[in-house]
């Protein structure tokens, strides 16, 4: 469990200039080495961590002399260089003055920057090959010095990103322990190459100016913050470009947990935050924040542009290390070096995530330490809960207030002289107490039957009846599906809901309890719905994979989401056939209409509790699907409800603590391009003894098609006018497949016409059913 206080670690970046200045002025009587002096100074200034380049210009010079053929060099010098290179390749090693640090104490707690002029994705095979050897040499040296974390230069060349990724993967596999972090601007800086006068800022601090000549290196391109206005119109595809490289790298590295991201905020951010939300789902370890990214406020103090502010606030969920550079360069007139770190701390304190976590009574505060932690859902029907579990859930101030309100209103609406309540599943009695209060508030004459099957909780109930409740409460020990109750109830109250509504078998339990509800009686809850949205989270994907228990692997998890991104957007998608961001799967109602019952009043089979849903989601921005987020919403009575639906929970039951969402994992991640559509199928399946879910997703790409419009319209005149709205919905009771309607659906390429364009939808991928064949049914009936 991590604490929110100090979400961010603030680090300073020592440049080669800093180190070389310290060398010049070194006084061995005070500090053993110049770097140790710099480290002590950084600590004194309040920095919690230090980053520095691992190698010096000397190393760059030697490497380039060996490995790059200068244009116009003669044959002899070529052979000479190649001979040196071959000797080096056979035994890669540094000379003393080619590295910045040489001692364990200089390396302690330090994050090193790998030589950023290494082109791991160079177009030239030999440059790539020798850059790989150099990278491995640097990492081996860093490991020797017990360095825990190294930042790699950003990939720059989409065409050879797979080579970059292969090299990183090879390093992860061959270098134990060390964490590698890929530095990456949030969007592709190449679009800036056409803007006037791009300046290289962050790079200046790392390498000396003369080394930046374009003939020998293609350093990371960072542009000054002042050009941010020009960039705010960068199209989404550009913003996806660097993410796509990151996705390729981590996929080839098979989501290695030692691989993280260092986001480079030197390039100005786009003005819309929407496209940035994808970074929430990635393992962001650090943020590079050069002083040049700051702008001066009216008083001259360094502050960040609005988008950067919001983005850094959002990033606090990652507990990032914020690496400040050039803070000592005096780029702003007021505040001095400490102003930058103070400003980051200000952003931290004003981060919505941090604030929610720190405010007592919020679910974020309640969930401290449980963010992105996978829990198996409770199985209260199979397992008898512990007292401490009941206690945790009884802490929820909202849920039981809502129940009391629902019972209160039901009482007001109910016309009987004497009202019979039945609490089905009383647990340790929280609903009994609330029910008594509701009765008191209405001054109605009522009695309560409290049914409970957990023998241990039943002791608590007896104790409370004796001490608190008295004769108004009758206790009944047994399973609500089989027990006999002295009289039928007017109002049946239960709290059997799971994070997905029906996932703790409320429908099955209430089928049994309906026997003792009067035919016109009220059930609280009266209905509940399950909701889904497609989710991306490399953290959750890795957590689910790491689960050793096969049975757990095939079930959904209860998770307090944090480092996740919901991939779906609002709106109908290009085809117009998509629903909203979060979509309803199905509903259960109580009491339910006319099931066929046996002599005992129980359903003969559980078929009526089977459900299925097929949902169409619009995916505006490219992302990787790792699973589905599951939510529920319940109507207790009238307009009193419970909800963990992200868009509606604050309206319906704000600050309710009892339910985290459900996470349905997929075995294999599925790449979803921008403007694609995702079709999710989910089934609630049941046998006599078991209930379980299965889920599946297929992705489609819609794109405007002018090449085939004419041909298609001519071929099948009735097809062009078919639209999504004329399709049969899933709820139709008829078993008949009409010969006319399915034409549209049976086509591999679905077509539709909107007002202006003709779109074609082509299947592009799928991720297979996670929970096949009911092997892993997870609740015994």
């Amino acid at each position: 469990m991590t604490s929110w206080s100090g979400s961010a670690t603030i680090s300073t970046f020592l440049t080669l200039d800093d180190i070389s200045k310290a060398r010049k002025n070194h006084d061995p009587s005070k500090h053993k080495t110049p770097v140790l002096k710099l480290l002590a100074e950084a600590r004194a200034k309040g920095y919690e961590a230090v980053s520095l380049p691992l190698t010096t210009e000397k190393w760059r010079t030697r490497w380039e002399e060996m490995c790059l053929l200068p244009s116009g060099s003669d044959r002899d010098s070529e052979i000479n260089a190649e001979q040196k290179a071959e000797v080096w390749r056979s035994r890669p090693a540094f000379l003393n003055d080619e590295v910045t640090i040489t001692r364990l104490d200089e390396a302690e707690g330090v994050t090193v920057m790998i030589s950023d002029w290494l082109e791991l994705d160079a177009t030239d095979d030999w440059v790539r090959h020798d850059a790989e050897i150099a990278l491995k040499q640097e990492l081996a040296y860093a490991s020797y010095l017990n360095i825990q974390s190294a930042i790699l230069p950003a990939p720059r060349n989409r065409e050879h990103a797979a080579s970059y990724a292969r090299i990183v993967n090879s390093c992860l596999k061959n270098t134990p322990y060390i964490h590698l972090s890929i530095s990456l601007p949030i969007y592709n800086p190449s679009v800036l190459q056409h803007t006037q006068n791009p300046s290289l800022l962050f790079t200046e601090n790392i390498t000396s100016p003369e080394s930046l000549s374009p003939s020998v290196s293609a350093p990371r391109l960072f542009v000054s913050g002042s050009s941010s206005e020009k960039l705010s119109s960068a199209p989404e595809s550009e913003l996806n470009a660097t993410w796509e490289m990151w996705d390729l790298i981590r996929s080839i590295c098979d989501y290695d947990t030692r691989l993280t991201l260092t986001l480079d905020l030197a390039p100005p951010l786009p003005s819309t935050i929407g496209v940035l939300s994808k970074w929430a789902a990635e393992s962001v370890r650090s943020i590079l924040l050069p002083a040049s990214t700051f702008i001066a406020n009216a008083k001259g103090y360094p502050v960040l542009p609005k988008t950067a502010q919001s983005f850094i606030r959002e990033c606090m969920i990652h507990h990032p290390t914020v690496i400040l550079s050039a803070a000592n360069a005096g780029q702003h007139t007021r505040g001095g070096e400490t102003a930058y770190a103070q400003y980051v701390r200000h952003l931290e304190k004003t981060s919505p995530a941090v604030q929610a976590a720190e405010r007592a009574g919020t679910v974020e505060n309640f969930a401290q330490g449980y963010q992105d932690y996978l829990q198996a859902p409770l199985q209260p029907l199979m397992d008898n809960l512990q007292s401490v579990t009941y206690q945790t859930f009884e802490q929820d101030p909202i849920k039981y207030a809502q129940y009391e309100e629902a019972m209160y209103r039901a009482l007001l609406d109910w016309d009987e002289e004497k009202i019979v309540f039945c609490i089905a599943g009383a647990g340790r009695g929280p609903l009994v107490t609330r029910c008594l209060t509701a009765i008191e508030r209405t001054r109605r004459d009522a009695i309560i039957y409290a049914v409970e099957k957990n023998p241990n909780a039943f002791v608590t109930l007896q104790n409370r009846k004796e001490r608190e409740w008295g004769d108004k409460v009758q206790l009944l020990f047994g399973d609500m599906r089989f027990i006999d109750v002295p009289e039928q109830a007017d109002i049946l109250v239960s709290e059997l809901l799971g994070s997905f509504g029906d996932n703790e078998l409320s429908p099955e339990c209430l089928d049994g309890a309906m026997r003792f509800l009067k035919p016109t009686g009220i059930s609280i809850p009266s209905s509940y719905t399950a909701h889904l949205a497609p989710l991306s989270s490399s953290k959750l994907f890795n957590e689910a994979r790491a689960t050793k228990d096969l049975k757990s692997l095939e079930t959904p998890y209860v998770v307090m989401f944090q480092a996740v991104n919901i991939l779906s957007g609002e709106g109908g998608g290009l085809s117009g056939r998509c629903g909203p961001q979060i979509q309803e799967c199905w509903e259960f109602e109580h009491p339910r209409r006319d099931p066929v019952l046996d002599a005992r009043g129980l359903p003969k089979t559980n078929s009526h509790n089977a459900r299925s849903a097929k949902l169409n989601f619009y995916i505006p921005y490219a992302g990787v699907l790792h699973g589905l987020a599951g939510y529920f919403e319940a109507v207790l009575y009238g307009n009193v409800g419970l909800s963990i639906h992200p868009h509606r929970k604050d309206h319906i039951s704000k600050d309710m603590l009892s339910w985290f969402p459900l996470f349905f994992p997929f075995k294999e991640p599925l790449f979803l391009p921008s403007n694609s559509e995702l079709q999710v199928s989910i089934w609630r399946l049941t046998t006599e003894r078991q209930v379980w879910y299965e889920w599946h997703a297929e992705s489609f790409l819609s794109s405007p098609s002018f090449a085939q419009i004419d041909a298609t319209l001519q071929r099948s005149p009735s097809l062009g006018s078919a639209s999504a709205s004329t399709l049969p919905s899933g709820g139709i009771q008829s078993p008949l497949i009409d010969a006319e309607d399915p034409v549209f659906m049976q086509r591999a390429r679905h077509m539709s016409l909107d007002s202006s364009h003709f779109y074609e939808t082509v299947k592009i991928g799928q991720t297979s059913l996670h929970n096949p064949g009911g092997r892993s049914s997870w609740i015994g009936l």
Copy 2:
């Protein structure tokens, strides 16, 4: 190993009509049951197998009365039906007259057809639910009768194909042993709904006419062969539609080996065979061939249309069961019932695959029993080969003839008085013998040094020198990389090539042997190239997955391809950036130019033998990528070569037997839509001690884009005119990333302009590197 004689099994389909007629005329003194009589008759007619429907009309009637609500039924009959259904759902069981067979001897060797009116993909939830129960009931009954194989009704509803698939998967997981085969028309018959007067033919044989009323069922739609002309223009997307459903089903069933395809040839085939090649990669078990598919030839005998002929010939690689139906219905005037089976046998005999396998001297004949069988590549450097292995390869009549021809021509071209040959890796001596013949043919003065490191083969060499070769041949025992040779050779001959050219370490071995070649000397081979193509094969995917040995899992295999489909097409793709169907990765040349050598004349590192390639393939038809097919081509001397490149082998070295292609498997299948592009990266990697390959693929979809043309062109005027041809090629020696060129490459959406359209390429998927980090290097140097 399977024999080619009898590729196809010919089966007859017994209809309910056949069975009911046999019941009427049953004579218990001759046969125990009517079905046993029919089986005996079928055997007498020469059929090798029998298929029949498992259930009768009685069962259909009962199921429909219970599970379908007839329109206009009253409340009481609804409840009555629902009560019956609930009883059935809780204990699904047949009555005696609802099934066609009841005895083990009736079921022996029989393939049953599951009730084809079961709508496993119905739009209505309840119909689907009850169809699933009925299907499981039928399969349980079939299992009880020890039936090995059942054919399931075709999926019909793309919208609910995932539900169909989930049900099939559940059946596979819950029913041990039985094989399930999905019947499937080759293209989506729904396009026929607009043609005039579609007739239902095959279905008529299964169910009685009155049951076909569209209000209670949506039976498989099969149309008569006579409408084939109308259909020949069916677009490719329609032809992909049923394949896409099949792909979805087998993917959700995780490529279960008990799941196969029964292709239904009742609908007429398209006139082009190209799009049909995808079925070669699928596990086709049976072909349904109703008499109505046949047309009458000039003499009135039943024959098939040309496309169907070719398709069935191609299908012989699957060793299918061809299920003939209605052959006894007298639909053709000549030939009687036996004419249909005779015609299928004719197609079998004239199948190119069968003919190639039966013709002595072909690689197909030589490879009998090795089709689609995964073999680990030889590692002759690490392992000393057995005499029997040498013997197998010495059988190749073409390879050694080519070598002799190459040596002969090199001798003619060589100007020295006395010529020194060195055979590097002489094995048991086949090249020595050929070399002596070549010398004799040219009457030149020459001697041969034969180097061999295998001590066992060296005994054979000594024996042959003594008995056959005499003084013209000097034997040298040792590894060519380290041995000293008395004099330098004019012509160095080696046969170290693997299926991918360099994969048995020819480059590394010849680096050593170059020490004893004169500076201007000749190497035979003088060069070789490696070639790749994307491949689909569910068989090979399953075979590779089944390999238990982790190390083997991460290496390529030697395979004689059969049930595979090369996914790439010729032509540049929509973007114009794609290469041909099979593309060259890299080349090795001997003697190679100026490597830096150590004092012993050996390279200091193996860096110069590292290679990488990035290839763009055009994928015309949707398919699933399971791996890469690898081939080689070698120039021995001048225009004498060796090739297993599918397009060129017959031209260069026809009927050469020594090499099957290589198969590079992917861990996860990758769905590729029609008209997509596949970018394949492959690396030949090396350390001091190891050589290995890694490979990776990303898929992209190009589509015409008119929505963004204007915006993009305005945003970045220079972008629109960037074209693939101006990009730096992979071979450029400069390490410099030019600031101007990479703009195009670094964009996530690659754009290009051809003469008429503006295309946009969007990444849609990837399959990860199979062999990460060099863990599984497979050849020790």
